[in-house]
Amino acid sequence: MVKIGLYLCECGPNIAEAINLDKIAEQIKKDNKVAGIEQHKLLCSEDGKKFLVESIKKNEFERIVIAACSPKQHETTFMEVMSSSDLNPYMFQLVNIREQCAWMTPDKEAATSKALRSIRAAINRVRHHDALQQKEIDCNPDVIVVGGGITGIEAALRTAQKNRKVYLIEEQKLGGRLREYGLLFPTMQPAQEFLNKKITEVKNTGQIRVFENSKVKEILGFFGNFVATIENKDREEIEVNAGSVILAIGANPFIPTGLAKYGYGTFDDVYTAAEFEKMTSSNNITTKSGNPPKSVAIIHCVGRKRLGYCSKVCCTNSMKIARYIKEKLNGVKVIQFYKNLCLPDKKYDEFYKKTKEKGIEFLRFSDIEVTKEANQMMLKYKQENDNEDALPVDMVVLSTGLIPNPKTEDFAQMLNIPVDEYGFFKEEHMKLGPISTITEGVFIAGCAQGPHSINDSMVQAGAAAGKILSSLVPGRRLQLETKTSYVSETMCIGCGVCVDICAYGALTIDESKRISVVNEVLCRGCGNCASACPSGAARHRHFTTKQITQEMIEILK
């Protein structure tokens, strides 16, 4: 019989006063299931830990149950003690008789009997524990960055290190959408100057291999070991290996065709902000008739209702455009039609104020329509106070939001990451993992994740770099979660129930065997699959059906 050692911690008076430990020891001795019972004042103390190691070794215990505090407090502590005692740390069960017994049960007798029940359950459970080993795999520290816009460039620069190669893959030319920009807000600095500096930096960094005019055909593998097939500009297929992937494929401007009231596509001089941006980079602002406009209206929030989200950057971007026009064209009248000003940065209120100071008008509307009367564009609008008015203008710039890159879906499928309800990549956790995905090792940065300013996109690129630099260190092996699931090959029938419900794509069907298999690199160990599997072929390490039912049977004795 395996030798199980039981240790009862008094936790000073905390447990000893609330629970009759002697009685417990006596009962457990009667059960005759443990090889020894020891009691100690405070097992988590240095003295206590020393006592444990010595006692375990002396008694040659093989499995240990410690009745003390919450595992949140000292599970790790005692697992270390297990290791110091030359035992596998998982041959151990901690019974929480402090937080969840002593402290919550005023009646000593009741507390004692509850503690006894819990300890018996733990003894019964620990008998069925398996020694688990910390698993490690070799991993590749290199990085694949998909998308060569400013986010991708920044991500590449931030990840490129001495011992780490970066593959930066861009479908067209490095620079992305920013190549069409004239100025940047809120600094109003020339965009191309800024971009070129960055591109030069990329080229000067020895560690970045740039693929321009290239496509990612396929990415296989998983965290630590991805293989990407790239079709380069010469239509050759190249395979690169990396440990992680950053998806920085950006977003597209929303095109308001179908929103008839804005006159886009109907009237000549109605542009989207993105189209206008191209004009600014060519430095030539004219209407279709070739004359510079005398009055320009910029309409905010075009399509916002349809998209269902605020794109965050358009208000400020519109102001940038307004200022540009005002500077370029003497005496031009620029009016901004807005609903709500979204200025989410400490610098933006000031930017707005400056914009106003330049003589740019701001008009809050509740409804608007672009019409034409005798060759003159007219803006008919309704104000918030329900006053209606009309304004003749020569040019209309529609400030539209950002929508997902159509490629998003392809990459999402390729790498098993969900997209959100708007079609952007879905982050692992909105607050804590904003650039991570449920597929470990795949990160999303910039507008591929949602609308962001250039600054925010670049921070996200840096964040992705941070995640990669910290988890994939050159020369180090990747440590995996221990309490993962696995599938018994003999028992599995391959129904895929576990595959469907796994949030991390850790389970797949091995088509050759027609059974499901767990990728332990991806499994995070929740055990959902073990419950979903009707036959019990999917098994959750350290929470096996056996272990749980054994716990139950003692509790229900």
Binding site: P13, S45, R158, Y309, K346, G433, A465, S470
Partner: protein, 425 residues
């Protein structure tokens, strides 16, 4: 001279925690210093986080456990930087660790010491809405689970009395009355400062009646009212313990004076509306806003969902809060979008004051030799909002400016990337 690979993180809120975890995961020794007796920052004060209404403690607790269990991270609470010298790759930092008077090693967090302490003082963590003893834990579940003695209030400190109540109650000899402040010197290669923010004390804006009327709350007060582990165990009530029948939520408190949008207030007030509608049947909620700033995915949807539940959203100017009648009731006077004067009576008002740098940011800025921007936040480079002007020192989180949690996380991760990069072998 070889670069020092260790990293110092100042401030153990969400940003500091995230930056520390990443740095430690990369194999670096991390010193994480926190001025308070607990860590977790402002994030752990929330009950839930919008727009997904996730439990904040549930989000943070695993990360906090990771910090406490990580052998590479040395968490120093009650600590402050006093001096810094050297340069990127080789900083020497002096830190003062204030006496806790309770041993972090010996204390097991049983709390037996609270009861006997004769002193009652305001609980700062709970926005002074509840009392605590001079030996205290910020809130139930605060980490590390070891109390501290506030010597300013302890009878031994202020009155020099020979009180030993807590020491007697402690079975573990964890109380150290002669604990001393300790100055230590560490060497690090990079520094990340993540000292966070505070909400402006809105007393200066008389029109809102904060400090004058007891049922005008600021955002954190309201947050703690709703907190399950807060002073009312999550029951939203006015100061006299009554369930409010109507609540006014005031946006942009002080924004115009201050000069920037604090970004998060529209959303957290929406969350407050959700809180109220969720647990106060029949409550009337009014939102008084100037500009709605609801960027980020999911936020607009959340805003509309809450609005549909019956929040009255009013674009208002010239808001003024006055007493309504003889009781504790309040009246909100305002000018609506049609420039008409209107008013509503409410039982409770919650203000969203602007976000400002955490007190002491300026001082720290001087010590670190990094500039502060217009509003007192740490100044960062254009299009590189984690880098300060001094190489080797980075900023993360709301110390750089107000932001949503996700941006705090991203910045922390980005700052960690920089710190890891420059301290690379």
């Amino acid at each position: 001279m070889a670069k020092n690979r260790d990293i110092l993180v100042i401030g153990a809120g969400l940003a500091g925690i995230e930056a520390s975890l990443l740095s430690a995961q990369a194999g670096r020794k991390v010193y994480l210093i926190e001025q308070a007796s607990y860590f977790g920052g402002a994030a752990i004060k929330s009950e839930e986080v919008c727009p997904n209404m996730e439990c904040a403690t549930c989000m943070l607790a695993p990360k906090q456990s990771d910090i406490l269990e990580n052998k590479n991270i040395e968490l120093m609470t009650l600590s402050k930087v006093t001096n810094i010298s050297g340069e990127s790759g080789n900083f020497t930092v002096k830190i003062i660790k204030r006496a806790r008077y309770v041993s972090l090693v010996d204390c097991i967090g049983c709390g037996a010491c609270f009861e006997p302490c004769p002193v009652s003082m305001d609980n700062e963590f709970e926005e002074n809405m509840s009392k605590q003893k001079a030996i205290y834990l910020a809130c139930a579940g605060a980490l590390p689970n070891v109390p501290a003695i506030d010597m300013e209030y302890c009878l031994r400190g202020k009155k020099q009395e020979e009180c030993t109540a807590c020491k007697e109650a402690c079975m573990f000899d964890a109380i150290i009355y002669d604990d001393k402040d300790e100055e230590i010197e560490i060497r690090v290669g990079a520094i990340i400062t993540a000292t966070g923010f505070k909400l402006n004390d809105s007393k200066q804006f008389k029109q809102y009646g904060y400090g004058e009327f007891e049922n005008v709350f600021n955002a954190f007060e309201f947050e703690r009212l709703r907190a399950s582990n807060g002073p009312t165990s999550g029951i939203i009530q006015s100061r006299d313990g009554k369930e409010p029948k109507s609540i006014g939520l005031i946006h942009c408190v002080g924004r115009d004076n201050r000069g920037y949008c604090s970004q998060v207030c529209c959303m957290y007030l929406t969350k407050f509306a959700h809180y109220a509608l969720d647990i106060l049947p029949g409550v009337k909620v009014y939102q008084f806003y100037k500009e709605l700033s609801i960027p980020e995915k999911g936020n607009q949807k959340f805003y509309h969902e809450v609005k549909e539940k019956g929040v009255k959203s009013i674009r208002a100017k010239e808001i003024e809060i006055i007493k309504n009648g003889n009781g504790a009731g309040l009246k909100i006077n305002y000018q609506n979008e049609k420039a008409e004067k209107e008013s509503v009576d409410v039982d409770m008002v919650v203000l969203a004051p602007y976000v400002e740098p955490f007190p002491g940011t300026d001082e720290l800025g001087k010590l670190l030799g990094i500039e502060l921007g217009n509003f007192g936040f740490f100044k960062t480079a254009e299009f590189d909002s984690v880098s300060t002007i001094r190489p080797g020192i980075f900023v993360a989180g709301c110390a750089q400016g107000p932001k949503f949690m996700q941006h705090v996380t991203t910045q922390a991760q980005a700052a960690a990337a920089r710190a890891l990069n420059i301290t690379e072998d």
